[in-house]
Amino acid sequence: MSRAVEASNRAMLRARDAMDRSYADPLDIPALARIAHVSEAHFVRTFRTTFGETPHRYLQRRRIERAMYLLVQTEQDVTDICFAVGFSSLGTFSRTFRQIVGESPTEYRRRKAPVDVPTCFTKAWTRPSSFG
């Protein structure tokens, strides 16, 4: 592997970190491509090659992971959580949540107990998988 691939990986990671920070904002491919210093088309293609999923799918999982956290750790209602994590429609949120997690937000909340470990681990390990 060339040093250029390492630099590309690192740039993609920098853009993914930016998505992690601003997960509730709309997906802004032009801004992410600028962070990675590549064109928009190149960004989407390279992100997928690097991380195994599209930026859109990654952001969905990030938002659902945050929703899962808020459902368990807070008493906010589902609609508030839906908007807080960046969805603009409760229908889309519920459908996406069920598709990724396998149950509804309410069912998930009822079943889970809070956990207390450093954030980066809950962020990484409670994120629903795209990979089976």
């Binding site: 990986n9 690192r10 990671l13 993914r16 970190d17 992690d20 207390d116 954030t119 980066c120």
Partner: protein, 138 residues
């Protein structure tokens, strides 16, 4: 048998000079040992005043790893998947955060209140994640 201390741990870095600039120049850790052993550069740092707990900043490569494996490690590290992780405490999370932002350190999480204290996340130049926390006194 009783184990009594964690004294040394290791994370991979892609460039030890750049690692020194980041971990010492930006984070403010101290160089514990920096010596050329011939077969490797033994570079360790520690939190100021805590010389008994060293972090080895190790460069993946031959002969410890065969070239192909070293390339795999470098690839995983640069995409943030290597698993190296440090958790460092501070007496003032917000002030440390401001200082590191001013130094251009990459922030992954803003400071937030947690049950265990206030913490935030950063990333080193190579892809390792680091958390810096002001822990609540229990």
């Amino acid at each position: 048998m009783t184990l009594n201390a964690l004294t040394r741990s290791s994370i991979y870095v892609l460039d030890q000079d750049e690692a020194l600039d980041f971990y010492v120049g930006k984070l403010g850790l101290e160089v514990n040992t920096d010596v050329d052993l011939g077969f490797m550069r033994w570079l360790t740092v520690n939190v100021p005043g805590d010389k008994g707990r060293e972090i080895l900043l190790e460069k993946p490569g031959a002969p410890a790893l065969d070239p192909a494996t070293a390339e795999q490690v470098r690839e995983l590290l640069s995409k943030g998947a290597m698993g190296g992780w440090l958790c460092i405490t501070t007496d003032d999370a917000h002030k440390t955060y401001e200082t590191l932002v001013a130094k251009g350190v990459e922030i992954t999480d803003e400071p937030t209140e947690k049950p265990y204290g206030i913490d935030f996340g950063i990333r080193d130049p190579f892809g390792n994640k680091i958390r810096i926390g002001q822990m609540r006194e229990s």
